[in-house]
Symmetry: none
Subunit: 121 residues, 4 copies
DNA sequence: GTGGTCTAGACCACA
DNA sequence: GTGGTCTAGACCACG
């Protein structure tokens, strides 16, 4: 997994994003152990400190928790996870709507376009 | 206008993207004159050749046309423009659906989530 | 194969022309591998970028396709090839007619002259 | 009239060609006075000697004749002119046929293609 | 090794 | 001044 990062956005935030999505989508399941900071850092080519920051932020969000001696684990708190999914889904929708409105589409047109797309494919 | 470019995607493609969106959204209106290659290149901090490539690709797509010695202009062919908007809107929808499906949402759930979001806001 | 280029016409266009003819005439058969960009560039004495441009333009026309890391190949899409031949033949005819008309020949005289030539030889 | 010359073919031959065509097509009419060597040479950007050679070759072909003190004139010998036209027209046809045969077209196909083209346009 | 991209900078034609 | 072309040479991704 070699991430490509955008310029202009702090990398640790981009990592939080990627990880959140991986967890929300079940790639990392509830209770799964995450790779070690060092290992992970090498994997994606960033400084361990950057990753450390990403992890501790996610910890404060309750998405991962740390077992001092054993490593980090994905939370198995279903409430936290469903909130995470809701947050992501809202963000996605918001982004879509913003983009579509820039194309001068009304809410109704947006909905219809999506319906049509889902039917076509 | 200082663009930030993603790593891993050719800059000239990103420029095409940005410009296409600006045109589709009306930031550059049909018939508007675009900045000169050199001016634009300095503006966004890339080599003139890179921009040249972006521009001439867009020309072959019919989105802009060139008046030699005078500059480049946004097409006023409404058909091309509406096709452009359709292409962008499809891409946006596709991206949304892909993301939502990763969160294990069914097509119906996706539609409902959007409806709810549009009503709430 | 050392091409001589006309002044006043972009080299990359002349290369496209030469190559198109070679392909249409079967000198490069459908599916044949073409020389690598660098090799070809040295061969005909132009900068690799110039050749790259010619090749990628031909790719967008569907005449060649690229197998990344392996090289470029002549398409084996018979439809594209016959379109190419039709395009070339039209161009040739157009040039002939233009020339003959400059000699004040009518369409009928042109046709007759060709018939006579074909019978004589 | 600024000619563009091909590399690899003697310029004086290319000039003969251009001039022959101009005369055959009536751009220079029978009996017309031609520009002076020096004037003409500057016009098309070649060395006067090169032009001199072109002119004297054409003189030996009977296409132009020289009046020592007055300059060069297009012949008004209709026989020479019609032979010139015939020569050019044959050359054009030969070139067309050669090209079309490279595209694997039979004589009949060639004739049909030309007929079709003349009808279409 | 292949193709793809990018920069730097030059020269040209046009009007 | 505009866009268009070309060269020289570097770096990258892929396998």
């Amino acid at each position: 997994m070699a991430y490509k990062f955008k310029n202009g956005i702090p990398i640790y935030l981009q990592i939080i994003d990627e990880l959140s999505i991986s967890i929300a989508s079940g790639k990392y399941a509830p209770g799964d152990k995450l790779p070690s900071v060092r290992e992970f850092a090498v994997d994606i080519g960033v400084n361990p400190n950057t990753l450390q920051r990403a992890f501790s932020t996610m910890e404060s969000m309750g998405i991962v928790h740390v077992d001092r001696t054993n490593g980090r684990y994905v939370t198995d708190d279903e409430k936290v996870l469903s909130e995470l999914r809701a947050k992501l889904s809202k963000r996605y929708i918001e982004e879509l709507v913003t983009r579509m409105r820039k194309l001068k589409m009304s809410d109704e047109e947006i909905l219809n376009a999506i319906k049509r797309w889902l039917e076509e494919v």
